[in-house]
Symmetry: C2
Subunit: 397 residues, 2 copies
């Protein structure tokens, strides 16, 4: 099927996509228009191709595939909706838009000849959505844990590998183009959360409102936390998790203090990795670059290519209404550094471990349910506390 | 598309496939006949389903999908040919058959409504062929290195992780059902070679006669080799490789003495892993169980499932006649333990490193081209020598 593309966005990823399409020089894939925002910026594009109005792309009947690679989730949502209503397919790399708005597109997902593909939204170059859809969907889903943000992982790699200070590592990640336009999304875990929500749709078949998911990031990481982890031979990784708990699953984003037995321990720099457990396929680990121009552009390109053969996600579990329960029952062992004794006392820790005090803060380890942890999330954030998962009790799932 | 299956073979994998199909209880996928060899063995199957004659399956017009999970490559080839000629599709887990005979099936591969799928032949549960076909095929292939045999990796894990003797580890792998019916295929590298040839078809688009590929295994691994590697903090992994060399690529199977910077170092037990480098996607690592009942059965099941939506490999590069050159130019740094001074002298090593003698054998390190190494392959085997790759010269590709 011939793809006549309207490319919306010409930033780092958009330019990469443009380059890949040009290099391919496949008569079946052409970019008819490139929609950009800034009229003043000089661009290396044929002037006739450039436009500044989204609707010029969306109202063009010749364009049958809209490729959207912009940052703004509201504009992305407008684009997605109008594209699908007018019978165009959509390739998007906008994780926030997909994660937050997917249910609004439900009526377009059943496959009426158009499709919405978004491999580039999640884990850069790793073909994780396609594999969850096409390969692992036969299996009974067990669990998923992953490093889903290349920028945060780059920072943690510098901090644990090179002893660099957190702020210096963050600046370096920005310099190298790994960080999002707003790096707060990377380090706060919000970007990881968007991806986790997308992965849950394709693994569990369940959409979960991101605002209801526990999410803690690395923005409060301090030298004391790094020293604590390093003294135990551990590293910290920012992770998204979907784990069996009781009769359902618990979902959460959390820094994980882990040892070398965890496959995520070995994932360095801007790499992402997803550890899947299926009842039949057992543990699978997929690793690849999660940030940067080409890793994301190549994922977008593979979606464009998939449209040439009419491919669309099947959403088998999602459209059939997966009865999976998402709960807060999972019991987590936690490392907590906080200035607030009140948090430790009132949070509902049931297995209290170590408590040390030095330099005005407490370092505490203990066990707590995800729902209790969620209750104190705001206090944790506001008090500059840092928490990390240290493990699960044996036999607990 | 409804799949009426004739299952040929009811060993470890066949029983797993039968169980998965039964558990699914999808009216679109039924097993009509199960063909077995041994008439005397008791089986937990409805008697009407069992047959003993291959042609009873192959001549059955209701059967549109033959699932072949037997060991004998000659019988597998007969099955594949007759199935495809009579318009049935084929799912096979027989790597030797696929690797050696694929060109004979070329006329059936162009997609005339039937297909030949063999995800279960290579790397057990890892969806490597499907990803090479569907996802990475947009990219410019750079290199591939993998642990492709779960049994050999299990043995090497016991030897390097637990200090177990080679023979004891081999027996344990057999006990656990990881080893092939004939474990020589696992440890000699021949099984790895079959898989490497299949991976080359789907990554380079080139079929290479397995008998022309350099292949060295771990059957001559001795305590001296293990001590040498361990003293340098290294482990040995049996690897299959497709690496850029000059204007083309070199292919070879070899034990690789590696340090922890290599992602394959961390792959333990019966796990397989494939490290891919693409020009755009950069390094990708896929890891999963490569041996055992369910990991292989689940890959076969995913092929069966893919047939319900009419999926077939596209062989884009292979059918278009990839002009890739396979050569022996790659320059390898080698560890060699041998009783024969003659081999060291005459092999054509150009960068001679260390030479030690103790207990009647020489331990030698040096650099050699793949073609020179291939020239002495027989001498190496016959003299009980052990070789391992230690690396490549910087800048050499």
């Amino acid at each position: 099927m011939k793809q006549t593309i309207g490319l919306i966005g010409f930033g780092v990823v958009g330019q990469g996509v443009y380059e890949l399409v040009s290099r391919r020089s496949d008569p079946g894939i052409t970019i008819k228009k490139v929609c950009v925002r800034d009229r003043l910026k000089k661009r290396s594009l044929t002037p006739g191709k450039i436009c500044y109005d989204l609707d010029e792309v969306l109202d063009d009947d010749e364009i049958n595939l809209v490729v959207e690679v912009i940052n703004d989730p509201d504009a992305a949502c407008y684009i997605a909706e109008k594209a699908l209503i007018t019978g165009k397919s959509l390739v998007s790399a906008n994780k926030k838009m997909v994660a937050e708005r997917l249910p609004a597109f439900r009526k377009f997902l059943a496959g009426n000849g158009t499709a919405m593909l978004y491999e580039g939204s999640t884990c850069g170059s790793i073909p994780i959505i396609r594999n969850l859809e096409e390969y692992y969907s036969n299996d009974i889903f067990g669990s998923l844990s992953g490093i889903l943000n290349g920028s945060a992982n780059y920072i943690l790699s510098r901090v644990f590998g090179d002893g660099m200070a957190y702020k210096e590592a963050l600046s370096q990640a920005q310099l190298l183009g790994f960080a999002e336009a707003d790096p707060r999304l990377d380090v706060s875990g919000e970007d990881t959360l968007s991806k986790l929500v997308i992965l849950a749709v394709h693994s569990l078949g369940k959409w979960v409102d991101p605002s209801t998911v526990f999410c803690s990031g690395i923005q409060n990481l301090r030298p004391a936390d790094i020293q604590y982890a390093a003294s135990l031979g551990m590293k910290i990784r920012l992770t998204g998790n979907i784990l069996r708990s009781g009769k359902g699953f618990s979902m959460f984003v959390i820094p994980w203090m882990m040892n070398r037995d965890n496959p995520l321990y070995h994932v360095e720099n801007e790499y992402n990795a997803v550890v899947l457990e299926g009842e039949q396929c057992s543990r699978q680990v997929l690793t690849g670059k999660g940030a940067g121009r080409m890793p994301t552009a190549t994922a977008v390109m593979s979606d464009i290519d998939a449209r040439t053969s009419g491919y669309g996600y099947r959403y088998r579990k999602f459209l059939n209404g997966s009865g999976v329960e998402i709960n807060g029952e999972k019991f987590l062992n936690i490392y907590l550094r906080t200035g607030s004794e009140e948090i430790i006392r009132s949070a509902g820790f049931v297995k209290k471990g170590d408590l040390r005090k030095s330099n005005g803060y407490y370092i505490f380890t203990g066990g707590i349910s995800l729902s209790n942890l969620t209750r104190i999330r705001k206090q944790l954030d506001e008090s500059g506390s840092f928490i990390a998962l240290t493990g699960f009790d044996a036999g607990d799932d």
